[in-house]
């Protein structure tokens, strides 16, 4: 099954990338952009056919490796 894990910085954590991109967009002539946040997306092919089990396994993977819970939150979607 295909799984998508999205990892974003926690609210309130400085996001230097987002800041720099929003700044660049302004000067590029896209003035309407107010906030930018940058995160990672990790797409996985996981063996198995039980949606709940795959979801659980992906959450474990996110906690153990894919996200840094000190500064990041994650979201798991089984596609």
């Amino acid at each position: 099954m295909k799984v998508r894990v999205t990892v974003m910085l926690k609210e309130g954590v400085l996001d230097p990338q987002g800041k720099a991109i929003s700044h660049a967009l302004q000067t590029l002539g896209f003035p309407g952009v107010t906030e930018v946040h940058v995160g990672k997306v990790i797409e996985l092919d996981v063996e198995g056919s039980d949606q709940a089990a795959v979801q659980k396994q992906a959450e474990d993977m996110a906690r153990d490796l894919l996200a840094n819970l000190v500064i990041e939150d994650f979201k798991v979607e089984v596609l």
């Binding site: 230097p16 990338q17 720099a20 991109i21 660049a24 000067t27 590029l28 940058v38």
Partner: protein, 233 residues
């Protein structure tokens, strides 16, 4: 030779480049700011190394949209000479002035070490002080130097002889799947390429950091001496 160096926010090897250029021309290059919209009358424009805009998003992506890049594009169209080193190379690929792209190093780490480059042709202003197939040592320092291009582009580069430098061992042997000699994993061990008219050169390593015996050698000097000879005026 009259030369200019472009400084973007986050550029950090402009001083190294200025030292190298001054060493061969006897005069300090003009420093340009990324917001400038005109170029002075120069023979060579250099995009130096660093982390323009922090290299956030992608290396060189935001600098490629700086105001000065329009003037640099026009300069290129008129046949001007441009050297892009490290971040400068990344910026040139991001603008499309050179083909391909630079990905994360294959081992996913920043690399700071010496490497050896083999000179693939010596009939360009950038390479003519070396013999063809000469090998020289130079430092490299980057996290995203893994050159890639689609097969069509690659065929063209190789077919038209637009590869300027390849990573090699000290004897000049090239082996793309060997992490020792091709440290960042570049396709075909490509370290530097040329535009079709051979007037734009982009390369990842830093010959400008090896132009003084005190800093460990002058192996990078021929690049700069060659440029000066190409523009005697």
């Amino acid at each position: 030779m009259k030369s200019a160096i472009v400084v973007f926010p986050g550029t950090n090897r402009e001083r190294d480049m200025a030292i190298a250029l001054k060493r061969v021309t006897g005069k300090a290059p003009t420093m340009l700011w990324h917001r400038d919209t005109d170029l002075p009358d120069v023979d060579l424009v250099v995009l130096p190394g660093g982390f323009s805009y922090g290299d956030y998003l992608r290396c060189g992506a935001m600098a490629a949209h700086s105001p000065i890049m329009a003037a640099i594009r026009a300069f290129a169209q008129k046949g001007g000479h441009i050297l892009g080193v490290c971040n400068g190379f990344q910026i040139l690929t991001e603008t499309g002035m050179l083909p391909g792209a630079l990905l994360r190093n294959a081992n996913l780490r920043f690399l700071s070490q010496d490497c050896h480059l083999r000179v693939e042709r010596n009939d360009t202003p950038f390479t003519h002080k070396w013999a063809k197939d000469a090998v020289f040592r130079t430092p490299l320092a980057h996290g995203d130097g893994n050159y890639t291009a689609d097969s069509q582009t690659l065929e063209k580069l190789e077919g038209e002889g637009l590869v300027a430098f390849r990573y090699a061992n000290a004897k000049g042997d090239v082996q793309a799947d060997d992490a020792e000699t091709n440290p960042n994993g570049s396709i075909n061990s490509i370290a530097g390429i040329l535009s079709e008219n051979t007037r734009i050169c982009g390369m990842m390593p830093h010959p400008e950091d090896l132009v003084d015996p005190l800093m460990g050698g002058e192996d990078g000097l021929p690049l700069f001496e060659g440029l000066v000879e190409a523009f005697v005026r």
